[in-house]
Amino acid sequence: MSRVALALRAQQESWRVGDELQAAGIRALLLKGPDLQQRLYATPSAYASADVDILVGRDRAKAACDHLERRGWTFAPENGLLWRVSRAASFNRDGFTIDLHWGLHAAHLPAWSLEPLARRLWQGAREGPSGMLEPDPESLLVFLAVHAVGHGFQRPEWTENVRRAAALVEDWAEVWKIAHAARVTNAVKAALAAEGSPTSTPILDGAWGSIVSWSTWLTRGHFVPASVRDRVRRAAALGRGGFGYLGRRRTLLISGDVELSVPIGVSRPGAMSEELAAVGGELIRDVRSPVVVDVGAGAGAVAVLIARARSDASVQATDISSRAVAAARANVKRLKLANVDVHLGDLLDPLPSQLRGRVDAIVTNLPADPPPTARPGGSRDPNAALVGRGSEGMGLLRVLASQSRAFLRPGGRLVVTLLDWQWDVLKDELGSIGYVPLPVHPRTATAYRYAVVERT
């Protein structure tokens, strides 16, 4: 159900973006996403995918990027350093990702090398159910073949996409004409035969293809080990977010007068921290000497606010990041809060065992954004503060809910921060492990909501 829900949401978002771009006079061509799955598999949710790829004209790239940002889409930190060469950038909003392209790229090849294929995609395109343009079957097959080869056949669904796209082809002579003009004939043959390994299938044909491939492999630094390139990319991502080695330490004021020091690499607290603290405060309003746990505390904003508001409360904060824990402890000490303890560890693991069955409220703003692909987050991931685990991003929330039953007293409450559609999915699951959902709190200025469940 969650994959279906995610697919329908992604479809809804992509249609909305298509309408917005069209209204702004920007033609958009849908490359990949739930609508492609609908076309190939007669369902938008044949496999897990939380992002949508849209192609715009190169001359409209800036306008499209500006337009998305004005509409609340955020330039994704993980766009790396060479997104201009790839002519593609990811934008995030409400847990979804739009991969905006103004050229095609595959593996390390630059967009200009696939210009003929991009032109052909536009030529044969026709309007699809989304209102955006879709490639004709012949150019779609060539595109999907290049995509599969470019990604080294990593995912079986990409090979299957090629097979299903082949079944839609009406004019095979046109397919080979397109492939020849784009110099990707070998790649199409390999994809159709479902052969090849990441290193053995060249994307571009002939000697020219080899020269382009090797020269860009060198100039893009692909001779550098992937682990090093990942670190550079992460540093750039952190820098974009104001953190990391390229970022700067910030001193922030929250709740009007509380000064927090937020060092490099720790998530910045903001309005949502204040809201979450208020929700937590409301849950313990009638409890004397409550025990409250803030999971994923970061620099300690929520814990600090609750502790200041309730001097009788015992506030426990946990975080998996040693940097965050050090920051939180420093803030607690500077603010002279004797009723906050900060623990280093994963979720509730570091809590003292004597708290079992005694906690009145657990609050959290754990990473829960669904990742573009199903890859787990982690403390070394630049998106660790945002991207959750599992294909819908709720892996951490599920683990926390399970662990929380041991620490919450009967009637104790768990507050999680998540998107509307995630709550629709998670609610029933929590009900089945002994939680009762309570009325959710009003939506924040963002798309997130605070969902409260009570331990039975």
Binding site: A7, L8, R9, Q11, W15, R16, T43, P44, D420
Partner: protein
């Protein structure tokens, strides 16, 4: 009250996906998900194939071996609920 002599269809813009033998609908206007069970899907599929609501009800009654009168009552309630939520509309063209 819905008219059995009419055909009903999902309005343009309603997103949907199969889930086993059921169907998940997402109404972008409300942001709500709806799950249509096997029986509801049968009715929708029949109308999609060109049957009127009344014909679809008879088909369902025959397929399920259930009392026509009872099936009619349940089917009309289902269509009423779906149209109220913006998930179905009568076909007039």
């Amino acid at each position: 009250m819905n008219d059995p002599s009419l055909r009903y269809r999902k309005p343009a813009g309603i997103l949907h996906a199969e889930l086993d033998a059921e169907e998940v609908l997402l109404n972008p206007q409300t942001g709500m998900y709806h799950l249509v069970n096997r029986t509801g899907r049968f009715l929708l599929d029949r109308m999609e194939a060109g049957e009127t609501l009344g014909q679809a009800i008879r088909s369902l009654s025959a397929a399920a071996g259930a009392d026509l009168h009872r099936v009619r009552g349940d089917a009309l309630s289902f269509v009423e609920a779906m149209t109220t939520r913006g998930l179905l509309e009568p076909v007039t063209d």
